[in-house]
Structures are given as structure tokens and as C-alpha cells.
């Protein structure tokens, strides 16, 4: 059991009820620190030297140090390329247009998402894993969620209220 100052008691809000499975049930070999039993909204494993819940494995995971990142919007679709307006995510004021070959799209299943107005992210980063660092480029298209009935109803209600306030 941890005796750190950050151990949370089971009286904290959002704690697990005694009948609910604790992390030790599904990580049977791991010692479960007291603070891991609180279910707050922190990620399960962190970079820290004291994970909140014993991690499943100790595999070193890569992380990415961005060199340049853009958010792109497709303007025009060609046979094997598309034209997009790119916004530099480090400096939102900087915009440029570029033609990008379809073969540079990271996931070829994303090609069906290419249409005017489609949004994608293009990241050129250093991928660091342990003592290894490689340059990494990825273009991924957003799979934007559709509007829910609840959201549409809210939008219509707000529009109706606005219309009423404006006396239209």
C-alpha cells in the first residue's frame, strides 16, 4: 500500500463501491496502491514513476515531437490527388494551398473520405521510442460524428428563439 500524500481514501467522490471489481481482480499479479482504487478521471497509466494503476505491461511506447503540423480542408479533388487549404497549427495565421498526392494519405481506406470540405490533419514529427528517433509523417482524415437528434433539436430550438427575439 502506498503511503504517499496523494493516496485517496475510499470516501472520495467517485470511488468504487466495495462490490465492484478492483484493479487487482484483472491485474492479479500486481500490487494495487490505495490511490488506484479511486476512480477519478486521470489516465490509467502515466509517465510518472508511480502509475495510478499498475500498468498491464512495461512496454516503452513511442511519443511524437511535432516539427510541423497542419489542419487541412479539401478544396478540390483530382484523380490521384487533392488540393487543400492548410493551416499551420503552430501559427494559425499562416495558411497555404497545396496539392497532395493520394498516395501520401496514411490510411488508404481514408481515400473515400476525400471530398470538398473534408478535414484532415497532417503531422510531420519525430517519433521517439527509447533511444531511437525517426521522422514520421501522417495524414489522417477526421471521421466527424454526425449531428445527433438531440443536438439538432437544440439547434432548431435556439434558432427559433433567436428568430423570436429578432421579431422576424
Amino acid at each position: 500500500m502506498s503511503t504517499t500524500a496523494f493516496a485517496r481514501s475510499l470516501d472520495d467522490n467517485d470511488t468504487l463501491s466495495p462490490s465492484v471489481m478492483t484493479p487487482s481482480d484483472y491485474f492479479p499479479m500486481a500490487e494495487v496502491p490505495e490511490y488506484a482504487l479511486s476512480s477519478d478521471t486521470l489516465p490509467i497509466d502515466t509517465e510518472g514513476d508511480q502509475p495510478r494503476v499498475p500498468v498491464v505491461d512495461r512496454k516503452e511506447r513511442p511519443y511524437y515531437l511535432p516539427e510541423i503540423s497542419w489542419e487541412g480542408m479539401v478544396l478540390k479533388v483530382n484523380d490521384d490527388s487533392f488540393v487543400a487549404r492548410l493551416t499551420n497549427l503552430n501559427d494559425h495565421s499562416e495558411q497555404e494551398e497545396a496539392e497532395i498526392l493520394n498516395e501520401y494519405v496514411s490510411d488508404q481506406d481514408d481515400l473515400r473520405l476525400i471530398a470538398p470540405g473534408a478535414i484532415f490533419f497532417w503531422s510531420i514529427a519525430r517519433c521517439v521510442k527509447g533511444r531511437r528517433s525517426d521522422q514520421y509523417s501522417t495524414i489522417l482524415f477526421r471521421r466527424l460524428p454526425v449531428w445527433s437528434k438531440h443536438e439538432l433539436a437544440n439547434a432548431f430550438r435556439e434558432a427559433a428563439n433567436l428568430k423570436k427575439e429578432l421579431g422576424w
Binding site: Y26, R61, P66, S123, L144
Partner: protein, 218 residues
């Protein structure tokens, strides 16, 4: 001054989940990820009724009966974590979700031992700790219970000194939201509404908290 290093963002939902359905193929079947991602890129770690853990290009997904977590480590794709969660729980709209954390974490590296000592001393002045022999800050949390957006919850900033070379500190911000008077019949919708409207603000606020910590205590 320290140098910014690895950064991660995560969305943590608390509620009641059925871990066994959270499988890459389920996400592909509902077009949350591509079929190619599910077939070729996804790395499965655990799929049981009690826990599901796998990695995809966007990040690592970990689900237990009470907690859903997605953690991304490529800052350019952080916004897609938001898309992933919204699209998933638009499908699983009846899943009870009563609390959410939008988390941002950044590691800062510095080989300057004096900088680390001074930084820790400004956060927790050592002269007040003269009853200890050689104290140093290892881990500290500040909590703001008065959210700037008036919502229910809190914002926590945590600073940790990591035991590693080169010397490093890790700053984490937990932007925690709760639904007051939550009933399970409300499902995931109230929390998704918060996520839809709060993501950008939350990430910007957390970035600002992290930079202010470095600036004010350096």
C-alpha cells in the same frame, strides 16, 4: 530553461461500460476507425469481459467496467481523440457516463540541477521544511474547485519530479467535469454535450496552465 518534451492528452469517462465490446473491429464496423486500421494497425493487448486494452494510430484505449480512457501521444492528432469519443458514445448513447476528465500532460527536460532546485523551492519553499534534513518536491497537486466555465467539477494541476536522467518534471492537468444530479437514464448525452463544446477551451486552458507553471516558477 527546461525544454518541452513528450506530450500526451487523454479523455477519461466514468460510468458503466461493457469492456468486451470495445474491440477494434467494433470501432471499424461503426466507422469510428477504418477497416484497415482495425485489421492492420491495431495492437490488441487484452480483450476480456473485465477489461479491454488496445492501441491504434490515434492512441491507446483502455476500458474497464467503470472507466473508459483514450490516451494520445501525437499532439497533431489530439483533436481526433475528441472525434473518437464523441462518435463512439453517439452510438452507445445509453451508456451511463457521469464524469469526465480532459487531461493534458507534458514532460520538461533540463540538465540544469540548479534550475530544478530553484523550481522546487519556488513551489514549496524549503525554509519552511527545516524540520527535514534535505527535502525536495517530488509530487504536488493544486486544485481549483471554482471552474471558470461555471460547470460542476474542478481543475487539478500536478507537478512531479521524475526519477530519471536527464532530469525532468512532468506537469499534468486534469480538467474534471461532473453532471449534477446525474441519473443513469440520462446516458452519455449530457457529457457528450460538454465534450463537444469544451474540448478546444479545455486544451487551451491546460496548455496555458502548464506554460504559466514553467514561467512563474522558473
Amino acid at each position: 530553461m527546461p525544454k518541452p518534451d513528450a506530450k500526451s492528452a487523454s479523455i477519461v469517462l466514468l460510468g458503466n461500460f461493457n469492456p468486451s465490446i470495445f474491440h477494434p473491429q467494433w470501432f471499424a464496423a461503426h466507422d469510428v476507425v477504418s477497416q484497415n486500421e482495425a485489421d492492420q494497425e491495431a495492437e490488441l493487448e487484452i480483450t476480456t469481459q473485465q477489461a479491454s486494452v488496445f492501441s491504434i494510430t490515434l492512441g491507446r484505449v483502455q476500458v474497464t467496467g467503470q472507466q473508459f480512457v483514450i490516451t494520445g501521444r501525437n499532439p497533431a492528432l489530439f483533436k481526433m481523440l475528441n472525434d473518437f469519443v464523441i462518435k463512439t458514445f453517439d452510438i452507445l448513447t445509453h451508456t451511463p457516463v457521469h464524469a469526465m476528465g480532459i487531461n493534458l500532460e507534458q514532460k520538461w527536460l533540463s540538465n540544469d540541477e540548479q534550475w530544478h532546485r530553484d523550481f522546487g523551492d519556488r513551489i514549496a519553499p524549503k525554509h519552511k521544511w527545516d524540520f527535514m534534513k534535505d527535502p525536495g518536491v517530488r509530487d504536488i497537486v493544486m486544485e481549483d474547485q471554482d471552474r471558470p466555465d461555471g460547470r460542476t467539477g474542478y481543475i487539478q494541476a500536478r507537478i512531479r519530479a521524475l526519477r530519471q536522467k536527464p532530469l525532468a518534471i512532468l506537469i499534468s492537468v486534469n480538467d474534471h467535469y461532473e453532471i449534477p444530479d446525474y441519473k443513469t437514464s440520462m446516458g452519455a448525452s449530457p457529457m457528450l454535450d460538454i465534450l463537444r463544446t469544451s474540448w478546444d477551451t479545455s486544451i487551451q486552458r491546460s496548455e496555458s496552465i502548464i506554460h504559466n507553471i514553467i514561467k512563474n516558477f522558473s
